[in-house]
Amino acid sequence: MRPALKTLVDRVTFLYEDLDFTAVKEWKERTGGKAVGYMPIYVPREIIHAAGMLPVGVLGGGEGLEIIRGDAYFQSYICHIPRSTVELALSGRLDCMDGMLFPSICDVIRNLSGMWNMMFPDRYVRYIDVPQNYDPEVGGSFWRREIAELRADMGRIAGREISDDDIRNSIKVYNENRAALDDLYAARSRTPWVYPIAELYLVLRAGCLLPPEEHTALIREYLELAPQESDRKDKDHSRVVIVGSFCEQPPVGLLQTLERAGCWIVGDDLILGLRWLLRDVDTEGDPITALSDAFLVHSTEAASRYEPGNAKGSQLIASVRDNDAEGVIFCAPSFCDPALLDQPMLVTALDKAGIPHTQFKFSEDTGQFAVIREQAGTFSDSIRLWSEV
């Protein structure tokens, strides 16, 4: 690996592994600004950014965190991310957050917002309730009001008024970030061997910690550097889309295992919040309305979002087609109600479309991948055979 790429990869690896949020602390020291954490998946980060603060995606403790106290807060049949997040907080690692946002995604995150209120009464906590009605006059009017409240709160924490122009500017910054991510995913889909999944994931994940401007630059740099690695060659892999990992994240080792087992992951819903909006947000007119409209009309298909028509699974199928994928791997966290309840509906849609699929569950701290490797290998072989018939 050339030195420039190595430096970049080392940096994103450090960001991923560093459970002390050093990058956030350094940013705060450097800029004198404040940081606001958010749980998966969607929050309008533009509002935090417009206040001159750093939005920080808190995605649990992953594989590297030993759970000492977190388990005492959750029964065995609840997914892993809330316990590792509580562990992060109780061990002081989230002290650098000047506020925490808990978006509307499932009952676990919802209740965690209330737990936060009780466990950390001196800290700012907000539950972000997104509408499930997409009429601009109905759900839109509710959502605009929620965003306006968030704006007022963020202004208070930052100690300054957030102007419309501040928000418009942040919308632009995030539009650029979205475009860079789109380019990254398009490049990966074209030549997956050039952008190994672990690198792709860590570059994506850095978006949870870096200011968006820096993240965009990092993606652009990575897009330039990765193709310069001449030893990255195509392999006889099958092409798959993975689905179900929008909240609790699989360990990077698991993603690598899939790749090593013969699957190019050419589409995914990892850290979906960073890619929630499918189009640019309007930079003209009232910025709150622009953010609200973007959410109402251009949100990605997701298990936490009501699907009004009968098109369930259509976006997944489109992703399979657009990325020239041959199959889908359901890769959901154990006990994740939204992902696991969604799965049978998506299975039905895939079956109708004749798209093969397989499934397994993980936990963010899963350390053994042998079974998954075997399963993914068999799946990859079978779809390759199948597509040759």
Binding site: Q75, Y127, S141, F142
Partner: protein, 428 residues
């Protein structure tokens, strides 16, 4: 200790049985009789609104719990899992889908009609949304989504209420009109809401009778029967009114006679422990579960489960003067739609107001809406009230998660601990 059951048959109990049987009879022949049905959920249910269009509500949660009580749920859940539903998710959903796959025969052995409308009232639980998305794939009928925002701070904000009312006006009422072929009749709705409010007064009187010593009711195991008509299809109806009037009279008579609660084995004659319980009960071994309490002379004086369909005891009433607004407030205020701090406050107040000796959580595997956070609730209640809490785990309708010996053991040790704490032999 209990005394035999025969002497204790209450008229209200008989009436409830008749009402429920009648409801399932009506449903069985609904389509032949030219009636349309609306599938919907218990928390935040809009029974009066549905009935004001002469539509019949079907509540899949009630079917699931009834299937649990009739020992049918295990088979249904296995069926759903065979069809690809995860073992990790809510068993109410799987019980319902399994029942559907096996012919949709309801709890009374009669076939349930297919829905003419799915009313997805999304109150207090995300799984509801997935549940009806799943049902939507099975039926060719319209769906109305009613999104009820959460109350993280326990307060109803105007924009939340407005959001719900707007959804009723633009989404729900037009669909109810379309399905029923009738126009929205606000006067009729108001009449029903007035009846609801009257019955709600009576229900609150009954629930609060547990402040007496001995308590004339068990507010959890008995409580689930008392809330039955109110939380299901009978709010706003004459039958509902009559049921609660009768129930209130009976409970008043028990108080006057100094009697304890009625259990399946008769009247409790001794009240040794007064408990507050959080979480839903287990339905597959409901009687066995209840017995574990009354055999130890433990009576539940207040419970949160009996508030999933509304916190009437905290003052909420359906209000004919503001029909849609009060329906919106009702949806917002259901127990599992409240933030955890509000839930803790409520439970703390119950422990104090009802002079409980103990606080117990039945944590069900199925329900993240209830269960996520319960271990913190336990600690908070212990800290705030100074009484130790007990914790048991089971499930709603999955018999694989009811370990009788283990649960009995836990309950007994907990009660022994309470007894030791207050000094042996002290009873009420």
């Amino acid at each position: 200790m209990t005394r035999p059951v025969d002497a204790d048959k209450d008229r209200s109990m008989e009436l409830q049985k008749e009402m429920i049987a009648g409801m399932f009879d009506d449903l069985a022949t609904a389509h032949e009789d030219g009636k349309k049905v609306v599938y919907t959920f218990v928390p935040g249910n809009l029974t009066e609104l549905i009935r004001s269009f002469d539509l019949l509500p079907v509540l899949p949660e009630i079917n699931a719990l009834q299937s649990g009580m009739r020992k049918l749920s295990g088979g249904y859940i296995t069926e759903a899992e065979k069809q690809g539903h995860s073992e990790d998710v809510c068993t109410y959903v799987k019980c319902d889908l399994g029942m559907l796959k096996k012919g949709n025969v309801g709890p009374t052995g009669k076939r349930l009609p297919e829905p003419d409308l799915l009313l997805l009232s999304y109150t207090g639980c995300f799984t509801f949304m997935k549940w009806f998305e799943l049902l939507k794939q099975e039926y060719d009928c319209p769906v109305a989504m009613l999104h009820v925002p959460y109350q993280p701070d326990g307060k109803i904000h105007d924009h939340q209420r407005e959001y719900i009312v707007k959804q009723m006006r633009t989404e729900l009422i037009p669909k109810l009109e379309q399905v029923s072929g009738k126009k929205y009749d606000e006067d009729r709705l108001k009449e029903m809401l007035a009846k609801s409010a009257k019955a709600e007064d009576d229900l609150v009187h009954v629930l609060e009778s547990a402040k007496n010593r001995p308590s004339p009711i068990d507010a959890y195991f008995g409580g689930v029967y008392y809330i039955g008509p109110m939380f299901t299809a009978f709010r706003g109806s004459d039958q509902g009114l009559e049921y609660y009037r009768l129930l209130r009279e009976e409970v008043d008579a028990r108080v006057a006679a100094g009697l304890g609660p009625v259990t399946p084995d008769g009247t409790m004659t001794k009240e040794k422990f007064r408990l507050v319980v959080e979480g839903p009960p287990n339905w597959t071994s409901f009687r066995e579960f209840w017995k574990m309490f009354y055999e130890e002379d433990a009576v539940v004086v207040a419970s949160s489960y009996t508030k999933v369909g509304g916190l009437y005891d905290r003052g909420f009433r359906h209000d004919p003067a503001r029909p849609l607004e009060s329906l919106a407030d009702y949806c917002l205020g259901c127990y599992t739609n409240l933030g955890l701090p509000s839930r803790v406050e409520l439970l703390e107040e119950y422990v104090k107001e009802y002079e409980a000796d103990g606080f117990m959580i039945n944590s069900v595997k199925s329900c993240n809406s209830f269960s996520a956070g319960q271990l913190l609730i336990l600690r908070q209640i212990e800290e705030r009230t100074g009484i130790p809490g007990g914790f048991i785990e089971s499930d709603l309708v999955d018999p694989r998660y009811f370990s009788a010996a283990n649960i009995k053991n836990r309950i007994e040790s907990y009660l022994q601990m309470l007894e030791q704490k207050r000094g042996a032999g002290v009873g009420a």
